[in-house]
Amino acid sequence: MAKEIGADRLGDFYVAGSKVRNRREWRGVQDTLYDYSRWLKIMMTLGKFMMKPRNVKAFFRYRWMANYLAVPMMVDRHTQGLRGEYLRMCHTEQDLIIDDVAKLLDNLFRGDRRIGNDTEFSKKVVLVDENEMTAVMMGFPMLKCLSRETPSTYVSVLLNQHAAEHYIDVAQEFGLAGDVCPMPEAEAGVSIDDDAPVLGACAIQCNTTCDGSLLGNGVISKRLELEDGVPVFQLAAPLRHREDDVQEYAAQEIRNAIAFVEKHTGVKWDWKEYFECAKRVNYATKCRQEWLDMNRTDYPQVFGSNLALYTETNYMAICGRVADFEKADRKLSKLAQQAYKKKMRAAKEYRHRAIVWGVQSHFYMDFLVWLLNCWGIVPLTDMLSMVSTKMIAEEDTPENREQAYYDMAWLTENMIMRNRTHGGYRVLLDELWQFTEEFNADMVILWEHICCKALDGMHGLFEDRARDLGINLVWVQHDLFDPRIINRQGVRDQINNYMRTVMREEPIDPSLEILPDEESW
């Protein structure tokens, strides 16, 4: 128990066979009291949520709601070992995301025909995919843009590594292939299992990233349209998003999607609100660029899961539509500047500067914290955080109203993951080596999602280029949502083996090398 960074043996908190840890960290008086106060706030958010009878009813109706028992533990996983500004950055992000997800759940259950059944509210709801840029909803402040997949699968797996297993099994029980990406498969499983809230005036699905995603959307939209009577628009954004000749088609898809929402909700697009959101999108982009600039120096500040989780939420799910995220951007920048001026470091030793590439194992998002604490590998940035840095039109003029369709199309084409997994050789391979140079990285941690067809063919090309450039390339295999295929220790072992055999190094915190967390949330 110590105030100093890295003084604790963090592996000692794990208990074999248990879902949870034996106790929380002592981080010195000030930081422990701060962490305690944030824990109290989370408990109050959860308590407030459960005060509403309809939310209690939903808790006992939907299997995935059980995962929300693990909310405080998810925060503990990401704050592991953190002190000072880093702890505050993490809580600023996580607490806001928790608040936002609680509001999302509350709204879903309010309109849900099985639970709250508020029909007037439901008429104002537009359902969107989990993995979908919400740019197309920026000009509809009177409508609620809600995702059912975000709380049922995406957040659930962040909370509990085993959350998606039941739904993956259900999907396969009904004949869906077992070797597709388990994310859309689990989302389809929720729909098949009759475990998705039913609400909404209409829905927009997007050709997110891959064939698996299209398969999942097909299953979900069939039930939505034919059984629940919710019309679905298929937003087909071009995959070759860097090509000029696809942009007009992409903009037309956005015009069509907006017309579809107007038709089914009776609500007109609001340009004033759109440009307000556009300003916030640009502010978030500016902040993210500042953080990435800091990460190019010897004193990176907003990195690892602090960067990854927040970017995913703010860039894609929020997309300028929630003012609270602008406040959080400002606060995070302030904390990062403070820490940078003090030349602070988040761990006791930084040994390697790494770019994390590929799609991360979702059931082990706190792996980035582990990399830092166990081996001193600093995850400077990750593929999913390297999204669009283009400033979009933010002044309301006739020309900009036309430009806005192209901007929304650009954001949709460049949503997280698909902007790298599709779009050609350059965005996935060439730009990685450009980033390793810019960030002065000596290591690339390359996630290999074994069911992702989009990346499988590139294996040898990555290895050739890493060898040419003298970069330490570490492959880490995983199955995204399913820890039964490769568990968390299996993920860690791939790093442990590389660090011991190739790098000939000893861990900074040996207690973290092997952890009994197979049963853990």
Partner: protein, 55 residues
């Protein structure tokens, strides 16, 4: 001891007890230990809900 002082001391005592109680729960992770025991019962409950399962 005057009555207002007694009330202030009582409030401070209650706040201290609340802080101590919640801090013990927080530090020893008792909240998570309790919820992890609830989960298996919940999963059994979900298994028993009638569902319209189909593609």
């Amino acid at each position: 001891m005057s009555k207002p002082l007694k009330i202030v001391l009582k409030i401070l005592g209650i706040l201290f007890l609340l802080f101590t109680g919640t801090f013990i729960i927080y530090f020893f992770n008792l909240d998570m230990k309790l919820t992890s025991m609830i989960e298996p019962f919940l999963l059994k409950h979900y298994d028993n809900i009638p569902r319209n399962r189909h593609l």
